[in-house]
């Protein structure tokens, strides 16, 4: 069995805030405003899996304009100058950064995957035998962004290093 997760919503919110401070909103003028709506719509998403001491997924999902804006902020470009390749790269990196920070809070023996990016709504993804255990849901400059954690159920623990 995976251990009980030790990363709660406040921890996740803190990691998300650091990403905003460092990359998406360094001036501190457009924070992610919480909506607490776990069913808010998305158009694109990215995820990393974690296996070992805890097994599950960390998923970043947003609207396309929010993803474009994130890529623009990462690359110091205007959102409409961002290519699809850059947009995918940034989405993957967002899942990677948050997933890596989640992993750092887990007991030893967890492995992080490379990110998977899908330019389709999060609702199209299926993470078998998982349940959502935590999430940060908000609006960024009027556009939906969410970060959620999905824990695998059952005795599907994979071997650690």
């Amino acid at each position: 069995m995976s251990v009980e997760v030790e990363v709660n919503e406040n921890d996740l919110a803190e990691m998300v805030e650091q990403v905003w401070e460092s990359y998406l909103d360094p001036e501190g003028v457009s924070p992610l405003i919480p909506t607490y709506d776990e069913n808010q719509a998305s158009e694109v998403h990215s995820s990393v899996s974690i296996t070992g001491s805890w097994t599950g997924y960390v998923v970043y999902a947003s609207s396309t304009p929010a993803a474009r804006r994130a890529a623009g902020a990462f690359l110091a470009m205007e959102p409409d100058e961002v290519s699809e390749e850059d947009l995918s790269d940034v989405l993957g990196e967002l899942a990677n950064i948050i997933g890596g920070n989640v992993k750092a809070m887990l007991p030893p023996g967890a492995l992080l995957s490379l990110p998977q990016v899908v330019l389709a709504p999060e609702a199209t993804a299926r993470y078998p035998n998982t349940q959502r255990i935590s999430g940060v849901y908000g609006m960024w400059d009027g556009e939906p962004v969410s970060i959620s954690m999905w824990q695998s159920r059952g005795d599907n623990k994979e071997g650690a290093e």
């Binding site: 990196e93 890596g100 490379l114």
Partner: protein
């Protein structure tokens, strides 16, 4: 000095470069590798003075690249810039000969703190 930045994300390489500039290290010669294998090859062919490497990369991970270089007798200054930081990873990095461990998200201040003693 020549600095090699190894990360499979082009965007993250650009951010590392931008942050190096913000921290006042933009005058150095900056070169890029897209995975661990390329990092090893470029370290051997280009002889950088410093390597900043991601941990989790396709082809070859950052820690594998570092071990490969050390096994080949290369003692380039090498450190990690990664979203993952667990005590066991830091131990592995240190015992393989890494000089530093910077966690994403990072700031220009953090770069300055780590690189000022190395780059002067």
């Amino acid at each position: 000095m020549k600095i090699l930045i190894a990360d499979d994300s082009r965007v993250m390489r650009q951010i590392v470069i931008r942050t190096l500039r913000q921290a006042g290290f933009g005058d150095h010669d900056l070169i890029e590798a897209a995975n661990g294998r390329e990092a090893v090859e470029m370290t051997q062919s280009e002889s950088p003075d410093l390597v900043l490497s991601d941990w989790n990369m396709p082809e070859m991970t950052g820690i594998e690249a570092l071990r490969h270089l050390r096994a080949a007798g290369n003692d380039v200054k090498f450190g990690f810039v990664t979203s993952e930081s667990t005590p066991e990873m830091k131990e592995q990095a240190e015992s393989a000969g890494a000089l530093f461990f910077i966690v994403k998200p990072f700031s220009a201040e953090r770069f300055d703190e780590v690189f000022a003693p190395i780059l002067g």
